[in-house]
Amino acid sequence: MKKFVFRALLLLGIPFLLLVILYIVTDPFKTIRDFSLEYFDVTNRDYLSTELFLYNSQCINYDSFILGSSRCCGLNSYHWKKYLPDSSKQFVFQAWSETLTGIFQKLDFLDKNRYNIRNALIVIDIPGTFSSNQLPSETLSIKDWRISGQSEFMFQCTLCYNFMQKPSIWLRSIKGFLNDDKPYVSFDTISNDWNANNRCADLMAVPMQDSLNNCSNISREVFIKAVADYKSNVQEIAPVLITDDFEFMLIEIKNIFVKHKTAYKIIISPAPWQTNKAINPVDYKTLMSIFGNHVFDFSGKNTINEDYNNFTDPGHFGLRAGWTIIEDIYNSN
């Protein structure tokens, strides 16, 4: 018995300790050391967004925010700036796989910490935004502990646990640590716009970028065919997604906007392939009843969704479509 327990502890315990030490020493997700733009990875967009915001807000008075999941990547603060007062300072407060819970927590964080929210764009995607009201624990989507209210210790434990589950990260982190790798910074270090290098090329966004060919689930040809089929098929409607919990959060978001006298727009994102579904009329009615004519629905069949050139991959619209959306929502009034 003792031999068994001793060997089990030895065989499993020592590697476990080694991995914990490796995690602390190499800091693979860059969440242990103090924030530095030179030493930053983009593994967790929520953490990056929060760190960048707190770092910059010491000297920049951000007051205009774009909130949402990776669907926000098509919306660019430089487009948005055209419709905002000259003094406004934009920040893309984005997170991968962001849900309404995350959006609400961010606005609540801003409100409680007395940041101004003069302008806001919220991007809702069907069904992602309403997929869960639980806090995610995956590395890419875990919430920053200052936003979620989780303790920093549990936040680090969750990331450490995720680190232990991926042997490929162990090797990369050792390699990165030994080579003192500086990660490629692909975000704007002021506004946190994704794909910073592309922001000047937005109007000439290349249709069907090469990223589609590397898409893990579908080939370019299948996507083009899917969009063609989508155009000819009857529009599918998503089920009702807004539960009582979500409705409560939406009302709280509205209250924050009223308190800050925020000029806001709620955008229901276009996405022709991953969901293929338009927002349910019941959900749309709920949003309208809370936010009134600040809601803009780009889900379902429309000129954006029916042109595959508007997408960088099957789930994300590109900068060209984002520009069209901003023009639309600000010119429609």
Partner: protein
Amino acid sequence: MLFNSIEFVLFLPIVFVLYWFVFNKSGRWQNLLLLLASYMFYGWWDWRFLLLIAFTTICTFASGVAIGVCYQKNEEVSRRNAKLFSSANIVVNLLILGVFKYYNFFVASFAKTFMGEGKIDSLLLDIILPVGISFYTFQALSFTIDVYRGKIKPSKDFVQVAAYISFFPQLLAGPIGRGEDLIPQYARRRVFLYEDGADGMRQILWGLFKKVVVADNCAVYVNQVWDSYQTHTGSTLLLAAILYTIQIYGDFSGYSDMAIGVAKLFGIRLKQNFRFPYFSRDIAEFWRRWHISLTSWFRDYVYIPLGGSRVGKWRIVFNTFVIFLLSGLWHGANWTFVVWGAYHAFLFLPLILLGKNKRFKDTVAENRLLPSLKECGQMLMTFMLVTIGWVIFRAESIEQAWNFVYSIFKSDLLSVPFIYVGTKRVLFFTCFALLIEWLSRCNNDYGISKLKSLPYWCNVCALYILIIIILEFAQGSQSFIYFQF
């Protein structure tokens, strides 16, 4: 909690340490701990399930005691009473199973046929199917029937019977234990054996590999194709069907391996549930190797009492159909399961009527590395027949099953199937797992059991390699298929 969850990783060592260091004074204390741990494990899903399993346990225990009292008197009346108690327990437990699992199905089918769609909702019950009910109910019935048949003495120890019925490794998805095998084990104090502990850990690891690496990776492809099967080519559908065949095996046998491995850690030996079924040369052999605990249960408690094969031809046909239809129905409340059962009955019947159902009792290519061409052909044929059966099994309706199978042969069967980045990994691990199992097929044990005979350092290396593969390639949580039964 699932075997591959963080909660179980914390739960198991705690129970293990308590079992061997604190509660090891006697078998009774060990049983008590197992009972408490099992109820905690089961209650983790839903505490309401505990009421049902407790009721089943009380009925089973009471009927066992009553039968024992009747047999002590040794009179004809008493023997009749014993039969009455046994039957009563069987009826009560099957009634519970029937209500929770089949009531809505049969009522909906009846109403749809005779009363029209509109009347259905008002007749249905708003109940959830308790996880594992099919498994523990059959295990409880096995106890009662074995007591009635005199194979085991009725136990007067309630904790012993309760621990037997609720033992957490096998509670949710088997293997279905037998009273005559397990009650004697619960009756004595278990002593820890190093070899059992080490073997249990190996088997858990192998089961985990089959489940989270092989089965869950297959599931990603299978689900994607099934969701839009109308748009795919015949070759893609065929690949999806084959991968589902692998998925269900990896899922179920993986769980069984984990259950058996965990049981070994507590000194309880469960029977093997799978013996490399996809290396079967005919359907009869397949059913001797697939879900052995269920098929043997039906054989011993339904088929043989009906007369088995020692009756006239038409009776054999009837008995065979009863077994396979019941087996199909056991799996779920849907006509697809019934059709699946009937499909296998039709495949099995010619063999049994011609007396060829027992021709392959040995292992294929025994003492040889490679099978002969004939054996390859036999295995391939059996595999394809079983694969078609699994299509019916997986489909949501008979119409969908038919459309899927029809579409396989309708178009582009010889074209290149739809491949995405993960497919190559799926195929690699499937081939790897099948190779390991092929090399172990003569051992009559789980896939990597041969490591037992290798030096310690080999075992350690294999352990670490397997852990790394599991960590790196495990898919995010796919539930166990057999939990829905």
